[in-house]
Amino acid sequence: MQDLVRMLAAWALVHESADEGWKAAVTRGRKLEPGALEEGPEAFVDGLAALVAEEKERLKQEIANVGAEGQQDITRPAELGQKLDAVAFELAELRGRLESLQASVDAIAARGED
């Protein structure tokens, strides 16, 4: 159960949303008395939402601590690699355009010499 809550918390953290329904469910869930989860699916979901929100805050704190210790975010190198590839391709495209323009300039110059 803890793994599921942590997974949902990670998902909520990555896709931080300002969904009013979600916020309301968290508020309702926080107000629930012990044992209220058995009252039905609505109460269960509210309770789960509150658990996930709590876990999300914990996760946020953990990440902040890791960042403070100077460790790298493991997702960044992959993203950077993709961006670098895209920029390298655009640069190569630009080189291609310049080569083509150079060919046209050479042709105009050759005509001028004739």
Binding site: S100, S104, A107, A109, A110, R111
Partner: protein, 452 residues
């Protein structure tokens, strides 16, 4: 009226009368009548030369405007143009690249490899190593394909288009023709033609395609040699292989035809649904199969584009079609701009379900072309306008089936599409924004079941 104007008018009138006779002056209705007019339109374009051949070819990818019979007739347009003499070609190359061909290339063949209404292709040999935008370095001595715009074609096309515009203006006044918007359609065609006449555009699209499929070992896109490319000259590597038209049993025996055909269909779906840009002018002459069992794409003159939202809807339509769900296919078609009026919806749904049963589910080998033709005819019968991108896509899908069958005649494109469509829908459902939309409701529903 100029001599050319009179010649165009004479051809148009003669072909119209012949079509009217074949349609028994309107006594024959529906399919037979549309086929008669489509055929005469194709013959008129062939008779009137390059500008009209090109206009016809552009019209052949627009089932949103023309009847399906016309579209498929125009697809058969033949470029029967005489070759441009070698001396003229060499003069164009000298004017475009600044030196005689023998100084630019280490060898240049004055006999063309291919001739078409707009351009002609010659083979040459690369004089120095070249680093292309995508892919490995082309070594000195590599064989090249040099595509050259035919001399004077721009002027010829501009003059014919000016005459066609006058005719379009007159046509627009006729009842029933305004719906086709002849003037604005001609403007669209003029823009596409202008883009095609600048071969650098084709080179750029080729580079993008090469990048999209850089990791696919079965796809080849000829590398562009920009150093020898200008507005009127496009130089690429020459890829050895068989055009699909020429693929016989002997050639098929040496390649993994089944795998290649299925992969070709998947590559098309990736173009449309993953990369958002697709080769919209696929026909057997624009595709090669290489002796080492790879597919080579050529001629990127007409390219279709899809937005992320369209890709999701197209994937849903595709999956619904593959699994024979007419209601779902029509629901997501609406997101692609296909508006079915409420009062016609039940009849349309029934016709689509029937078409799916007849052409896709109820046969040993699915017939996408039959299904798509029936679908387009049904929309024409119900007078439901076809959005441009939607029509282009249907046309492209039919072509993909044709291409796949040219490689491997027994392929069932629907069976091949099933795993891809399923995977794609699963991937789309797992996207965070979709999860955010669906997870709370799904969770609640699941809990209700569990706690009931």
């Amino acid at each position: 009226m100029s001599a050319r104007g009179r010649a165009i008018a004479a051809v148009a009138l003669r072909r119209f009368l012949r079509a009217a006779w074949q349609a028994r002056f309107g006594l024959r209705r529906g399919h037979a009548r549309r086929q008669a007019f489509g055929r005469q339109l194709r013959l008129a374009c062939e008779e009137l030369g390059p500008a009209f051949i090109k206009l016809g070819q552009l019209a052949s990818v627009r089932p949103d405007v023309f009847a399906p019979e016309t579209v498929f007739e125009l697809e058969r347009l033949q470029d029967r143009v005489p070759e441009v003499p070698g001396a003229e070609i060499e003069a164009i190359l000298a004017a475009e690249l600044g030196a005689a061909p023998e100084k630019i290339f280490s060898a240049f063949e004055s006999q063309p490899t291919a001739t078409a209404s707009i351009a002609q292709v010659h083979q040459a040999t690369l004089a120095e190593d070249y680093r292309p935008v995508s892919g490995a370095v082309l070594p000195r001595g590599s064989r090249l394909a040099v595509k050259i715009i035919r001399p004077g074609i721009e002027t010829f096309i501009a003059e014919d288009l000016a005459l066609a515009r006058r005719w379009a203006r007159r046509l627009a006044r006729l009842p029933g023709m305004a719906r086709l918007r002849p003037e604005s359609l001609l403007e669209e065609f003029r823009d596409t033609l202008a883009s095609e006449l600048d071969l650098r555009n084709e080179g750029r699209v080729a580079d993008r395609f090469a990048r999209d499929f850089a990791d696919d070992p079965l796809v080849v896109v000829p590398r562009v040699v920009w150093r020898h490319t200008t507005r009127r000259v496009l130089t690429t590597e020459f890829v050895e292989g068989w055009r699909l038209n020429d693929l016989g049993e002997a050639e098929r025996a040496g390649i993994d035809a089944r795998r290649l055909a299925a992969h070709g269909a998947e590559v098309f779906m990736q173009q449309v649904l993953v990369h958002g840009r697709y080769h919209a002018d696929l026909h057997p002459a624009n595709l090669f199969v290489t002796p080492d069992s790879r597919i080579c794409y050529l001629d990127f003159g007409i390219v279709g584009r899809t937005t992320p939202a369209e890709r999701i809807a197209i994937a849903q339509v595709l999956a619904a079609t593959v699994y024979g769900d007419a209601e779902r296919a029509l629901h997501y078609s609406r997101e692609l701009g296909l508006e079915v009026p409420e009062d016609k919806a039940p009849a349309v749904r029934a016709r689509v379900a029937d078409l799916m049963k007849t052409h896709l589910a109820g046969r040993e080998q699915a017939d996408v072309r039959g299904f798509a033709l029936g679908f387009l005819s049904m929309l024409a019968d119900f007078r439901i306008p076809i959005p441009e991108g939607y029509g282009l896509l249907i046309k492209a899908l039919i072509t993909v089936e044709g291409v796949a069958r040219a490689i491997y005649p027994d392929i069932d494109i629907i069976q091949s599409a099933k795993p891809f469509a399923t995977h794609l829908i699963a991937a789309q459902l797992a996207r965070p924004e979709r999860l955010r939309e669906r997870v709370p409701a799904a969770l609640k529903a699941a809990l209700r079941e569990l706690l009931a």
